[in-house]
Amino acid sequence: MTARHDALIIGGGIVGASCALYLAQRGLRPLVLEADFVGSGATSAGMGHLTVMDDSPAQFALSAHSCKLWSDLGGKHGEQWEDDPCGTLWVAAKEDELALVASKAAFYRGQGLPVDELSAAELRQAEPELRPDLSGGLLVPGDRVIYAPKAVRWLMDQAVSLGAEVREGTWVRSLEDRKVVCDSGPVEADVIILAAGAQSSRILPSLSLEPRKGHLVITDRYPDFCRHQILELGYLQSAHEMSGESVAFNVQPRATEQVLIGSSRELVGWDKSVNRDVVSSMIERAVEYMPRLAALSVLRVWTGFRPATRDNLPFIGRWEPIDGLWIAAGHEGLGITTSLATGELLADLIVARQPRIDPGPFDPMRVVGGS
């Protein structure tokens, strides 16, 4: 089957789907090769939050722009993916974390993003289940929560309606200049996008990506137990931990009224089994912030692998050593959030349109040659 396509996307997760849609909107007819089924990887394993992150200017630019794209799309089609504009509440446990709240607020406001600083009393009112002696918090009202398995289906269906094609159950074995080799034979394209999440480094070993394992716990239905996505301020520290294991308090209300509890990070290769000790640490942390979580009924615990890069920024752009190859991978815990901006940015680079955000910080070549 040596067909030639104008674009080939390896990976049918939310990043691949976004690339497919934006390319299709720009007149190409991409073929998506997905190993299992659309969204079966990290896309469906994660929390589905749409959060503007301030850990670096580049991360902010990408996540803020992407959240805007989600917000525009959500306005018209949000019910397709249970879009919930619940906002994010960053929580300060102690007095000394309030300085972090203030600097975060200053940064967001400086970038034109409206935020609210909450006193301890206001925090209690916003979230009655939080421990009453927390110091305060920061509300980012524009943040949202979505149900990613439905969102990725919708994006892919839209791409298909514009001429894209999806082949599920298709495993890519290797990658060469303007060609991939699958079980069913080679497929050629002038443009190949590697968007296979943490699996990307299996296909392209020189791409420096590691699977960063996370655990999640979901409860039965408890209407109104929490109203916002809630994160401890230490979350970003945990996300930046390069080694070892860390947990950070993160809960989220689902549209089903179930409570989703995270988060954990470990580098243990591809071992997807649930680690009871890590779950215990994660829950211990969560219960410190929300004591009555301990009494809720748990239905399920699972794991997923975030694709992590050394500097916590994704790879979006050309991979010079191989003709026609582009990368859109390495989004760590922000894959859902930044998927739209990633697809738009990469598509613009591919058709040589002026990109809407600076692609420099995401250049995949920034790590070549380094260790």
């Binding site: 039965d220 239905r221 408890y222 089903t256």
Partner: protein, 81 residues
Amino acid sequence: MPKIAIRIDGRRVETDEGSTVAAALINHGIWGFRRSPQGEIRGPLCAMGICFECRVTIDGEAHRRACMEICRPDMEVATDA
């Protein structure tokens, strides 16, 4: 059979000692215990702790399977049907 008293949705009722909460509800004419996610009224199906369709709130705790809980004097049962 000796009787005990429990409260169902605030109403005091008598039930056999040793009967389950599900039995107490059904014997008082209540077959619908709760609502499904789309609001359909549901009641016991399997009566052996598998299906979770018989869930009620007992003494303030949600998601208790009525078919598996024995009534205790002054128990507070709240349905959602």
